[in-house]
């Protein structure tokens, strides 16, 4: 995404499905949080963003306050992204919330073993979905005190 090149958001979202992106942004709009979101479409892009490399070479430094991570992603999947973040001394402090369609126990167990901070299953019901996204956004981007080095506005 072009706008992401220089943009530094409080929420980094990793989601390959454009409809999910749209619905999530719609939900976050109600709290005026949509502008704080940087969207990456696969695991590789997400890691590029975090490491300021590739298309994100020119972005201003600093970590997002929270990472919303889908598990089923093209190229590098969500669990692999999570693994890399949590094994990197610099990045491991970023709160990571897995946001996925899957209620598979093995995904949940694997995520928690890798040190995920929260695991949220996207509800089918749109009300619930909007509520979940809004609560997530408010909690992690506003209420929660992010680790040092994160973006504060």
């Amino acid at each position: 995404m072009e706008i992401a090149n220089s943009k530094l958001g409080r929420i980094l979202m990793v989601e390959d499905d454009s409809k999910d992106v749209e619905l999530t942004l719609t939900a976050l709009e109600e709290y005026n949080l949509a502008n704080e979101v940087v969207i990456t479409r696969d695991g590789e892009q997400a890691l590029d963003y975090l490491y300021c490399r590739g298309a994100y070479q020119t972005r201003s430094t600093g970590n997002p306050a929270v990472l919303l991570l889908d598990l089923k992603l093209p190229k590098v999947d969500g669990l692999e992204v999570l693994k890399q973040i949590k094994s990197d001394g610099e990045l491991r402090m970023i709160p990571v919330v897995v946001l996925t369609s899957s209620k598979e126990e093995k995904d949940m167990v694997a995520s928690y073993k890798l040190g995920v901070n929260a695991y949220v299953v996207k509800p089918v019901d749109f009300h619930e979905f909007v509520n979940a996204i809004k609560e997530l956004g408010v909690f992690w981007a506003i209420i929660n005190e992010p680790p040092p080095g994160s973006v504060r506005k």
Binding site: D17, K19, D20, L23, T26, K72, T100, S101, S102, K103, E104, E105, K122, P123, V124, D125, F126, H127, F129
Partner: protein
Amino acid sequence: MPRPNLQLQVVHAPVLRYGLAAVSFAMTLGLALLAQHYGFRNVEVPLFLFAITVTVWYAGSGPAILAVVFSSLAFDYFFTEPRYTFYVTKSEIPYYAVFVLFALLLAWFAAVRHRVEAELLQARDRLEIEVTERTQQASLLNLTHDTIFVRDMSDVITYWNRGAQELYGWTAEEAIGKKSPQLLQTVFPASVDDILAELLRTDRWEGELRKTKADGTPVVVASRWSLRRDEQGRAVAILETNNDITERKRWEQEIQSLNQEIAKRSTELEAINKELEAFAYSVSHDLRAPLRHMAGYTELLQKRASSGLDEKSNHYITMMLESAKRMGNLIDDLLAFSRIGRAETQNTLVNLGQLVREALTEVRHDTEGRDIIWKIGTLPDFYGDRSMLRLVLVNLITNAIKFTRTRPQAEIEIGCAEGNGNELVVSVRDNGVGFDMKYVNKLFGVFQRLHPSDEFEGTGIGLATVQRIINRHGGKVWAEGAVDAGATFYFSAPRPQGQLWR
């Protein structure tokens, strides 16, 4: 046996032996004197020699020497000139000396011959005893059903028992004299040199051999070899015992191939299970996403356009949302159901009474505003997976609450009874709308419902889940009911050695 028993005829006691010498000497002397009296000349020499011979033969060399001495003296006294004196004239000395020498020689020859003959006879006796023993042994070997044969060190068969004839089809006459590896087309499991080396080192060898019968049928035998050595310790023969294990080998092979088949099947099952898992995962991920989007966009549409839409259009949007939600529930329930089939059970001793209390807490919000009389009996401990058993109780209790909704006062009874034999039965009874027994078989099917969903909500997967869990615990589920007269659901499980139930 026709041969004379010399052992009995040879005289042993010294008195008798010397007595025999004396008697034969005396009788001979008498005969010689009688012959002389009647004018027969020169009879005494052969008579004395005969007596000496008889003595040496029957009484041995000591008495024979005595007989020679007596005979010489008597010959000198009675038969050489001058008679009746022991004086020997010069001219008679050679004659006399020849007699004595001849007598000694005869005695010596007779003694040697006697000894040789005695030894020969003894050897023959021993041989005959041995032959008898061997014959007896051979006929004993013939009595066994085991296959036994003996071959010399160049593999030539020297003995072949009846068992060998029965197994291989060759008679003893056909087999003896042939080389056994050629006759039986033996296939050895190791090199023959190695086998022989072991045999010579330990005097025995054991192994499985493949051989061929006279009619060409192959046969597998468990073969045991024992080495026979002579008195000097030289290997002279090999006794081989064979047991037919063809049938056993065939079973072993069959079992092996069955095991392979089982291993293959279980690998296949594992693959199928993996596939199912991948399928469930895919359903969980990929099917839910578009559903969520449909619901999401429909709701957004509703928000933006509902004020401009007529009542019917708004109704359509509501139906779309309801359907999406229902489909979401169906997928969730189906996934939960499939997870029960795949999940590992963790069996512990579970207190059912405690579990019922937990289940009642879980379904609390369903009972709000309802008048329900609970009758909960004493429940046993149950050996099983705690969370699965809880799901069983939650499903059964939820059903009971749901289907008594039309009653002003509901009655739900949970109890336990002894079942047939080694099992106990837990029941959940209600006074709800019940069901027609002719549809009882449909109750536990996946997505099977006996009521319209407008009347009683649900996906129709609860009882299928109950059945699946109880089946995994080795038990059964069943139900009794009548239209408008309540329903009772039962589940049972075996009590293995008093462990399952207490």
